[in-house]
């Protein structure tokens, strides 16, 4: 069964460092998303991406964040200069249609020290 895969499963970094979280969406999907869950809080929408551009982003997704689809298979989330409050589980999701079901990956846990 096709699935969304995320790497790394866990990353520990120092405050101020750049982090790239990688996602391989399901191969024929065109719509891509990042969500995050800070420990003890709700899962929150970060950004949606279609046709090589951001279609919507939340207030959380400030200039420190960027997304990219560098090739035909990967979808990345970059945090330019990490803060302590960026520590969270980051979920990638993909969908075959704008109104289609979102398929989520297992998440990447980011710990910022």
């Amino acid at each position: 069964e096709p699935e969304v895969t995320q790497t790394p499963s866990h990353q520990v970094t120092q405050m101020g460092q750049e982090v790239i979280l990688r996602c391989v969406p399901i191969s024929n999907h065109l719509y891509f998303y990042w969500y995050r869950q800070i420990l003890g809080q709700k899962v929150e929408f970060l950004v949606s991406f279609y046709n090589n551009e951001i279609s919507e982003k939340s207030e959380i997704f400030d200039d420190q964040f960027s997304v990219e689809r560098p090739d035909g298979s990967n979808f990345t989330l970059k945090i330019r200069s990490t803060k302590l409050e960026d520590s969270a589980m980051y979920f990638c999701a993909s969908s075959g249609r704008a109104d289609g079901e979102l398929f989520f990956g297992e998440g990447s846990r980011l710990t910022v020290l």
Partner: protein, 116 residues
């Protein structure tokens, strides 16, 4: 703005007994509602969805949910719990375009424990 409230952070049941996970929603128009499940060290999996068709929605693994507009509720039920049902369950509303998933708003989650 849309929101969901999951009324119980933890629910504990015995194997073979019914499961009820409660969810209330707030929406300014006809919402699209979902239940997702997350097993330990796994991704979020769609259990079922309501998108203004039948109010009683059947999902995977014997779960179902009923959309009640008058009560603004979308409770998740299962007649008989199985040990493998132990997981975190999220009630979700879509803030995207009508009928769409685009932007999902998650509830805080309910952790379901199933005892032998």
């Amino acid at each position: 703005a849309q929101s969901v409230t999951q009324l119980d952070s933890h629910v504990s049941v015995s194997e073979g007994t019914p499961v009820l996970l409660r969810c209330n929603y707030s929406s300014s128009y006809s919402p699209s509602l979902f239940w997702y499940v997350q097993h330990p060290n796994k991704g979020l999996q769609l259990l079922l969805k309501y998108t203004s068709a039948a109010t009683l929605v059947k999902g995977i693994n014997g779960f179902e949910a009923e959309f009640k507009k008058s009560e603004t509720s979308f409770h998740l039920t299962k007649p008989s719990a199985h040990m493998s049902d132990a997981a975190e369950y999220f009630c979700v509303v879509s803030e995207g375009f009508s009928g769409g998933y685009n932007k999902l708003i998650f509830g805080a989650g309910t952790r379901l424990a199933v005892h032998p």
